[in-house]
């Protein structure tokens, strides 16, 4: 069963104008037999692995900077995961936090598109030598 079923979480970047409703309808219109469930952050798409892969490629093609995706272990609506059953599971806070960071990641993808190179990492400041700290402390005294 694991091999067959794939559930995909699509998350829309907070600075995007794409709406969950719009995304869900787009996927639905692709007509690949993939079930779609709209969520507050985007949507869940569920179907055979091959069909979901096609949907993913198409969504990435249309919204490269707006929509991000990962697999989800639980099928859509699974009571083991459902918020209504027990309250939020711990991974919810994780998703919330990652969602907030997506706009920054979009900027990174734009930089990739412009063919930029990363700046060399800044040298770590290192600790203040103890002798120096001692001098400062003594000066204040």
């Amino acid at each position: 069963m694991s091999e067959d079923r794939e559930t995909r979480l699509f998350m829309i970047s907070p600075d995007s104008t794409v709406t969950p409703d719009q995304l869900a309808r787009e996927i639905h219109a692709m007509g690949r037999g993939v079930a779609v469930k709209e969520t507050c952050y985007g949507c869940l798409a569920e179907g055979s692995r091959a069909a979901v892969a096609e949907v993913l490629a198409e969504v990435r093609g249309r919204h490269p900077l707006d929509v991000f995706s990962k697999r989800r272990a639980y099928p859509a609506g699974d009571p083991r995961r459902c918020r209504a059953q027990h309250g939020t599971r711990p991974g919810y806070a994780q998703l919330e936090a990652e969602w907030a960071a997506l706009a920054m990641i979009s900027r990174g993808l734009e930089a990739c598109g412009r063919g930029e190179s990363p700046r060399p990492p800044a040298e770590p400041a290192g600790g203040l030598p103890v002798e120096k700290f001692k001098e400062i402390a003594e000066a204040i005294r």
Binding site: S69, K70, R80, E98, C112, P118
Partner: protein, 144 residues
């Protein structure tokens, strides 16, 4: 290539690894493998006593059960990985990665395997985010 991501449940890392043409190895696959096993009824994740005992491969019995259970899930994926991307100091580390000691051990296991590994700090600014994504892209493209 199979690329292990840490935090293993990160949406951002999963997306970037896949986007740049590799197979991300993360939490979701190993959890799905368990929850889809209809012969087990140990909700929510079907992590079994055997899993936790199996975690002894990675950490001794004096190590708390929650750590061994986590290592039982991630350990085999690290063993199977050909490369890894680690995001350090990520403020999002809930759920699967909620235990700091487990996360430290995961990083160590990656290093011990000696596979190519990129460590990027969690970006605080847009500039840092650009650099992080550019470095991840460069690393993944370099894997061939």
């Amino acid at each position: 290539m199979k690329v292990f991501i840490d935090p293993p449940n990160s949406l951002i890392l999963f997306d970037l690894v896949e986007r740049f043409g590799h197979e991300p190895l993360g939490a979701m696959a190993s959890i799905q493998e368990r929850i889809d096993n209809i012969e087990l009824d140990m909700p929510p994740m079907n992590v079994t006593l055997d899993d936790v005992v199996g975690g002894l491969r990675y950490a001794g019995v004096e190590v708390p059960s929650g750590i061994r259970g986590r290592l039982a899930l991630w350990g085999p994926m690290i063993d199977a990985a050909e490369a890894a991307v680690i995001m350090t100091d990520a403020p999002f580390s809930f759920g699967c990665v909620g235990c700091e000691r487990s996360s430290e051990m995961v990083k160590y296991l990656i290093q011990r395997r000696g596979i190519p590994c990129l460590r990027v700090g969690y970006p605080e600014t847009e500039e840092e985010a650009e650099d992080a994504v550019l470095r991840i892209k460069g690393f993944l493209e370099g894997l061939g």
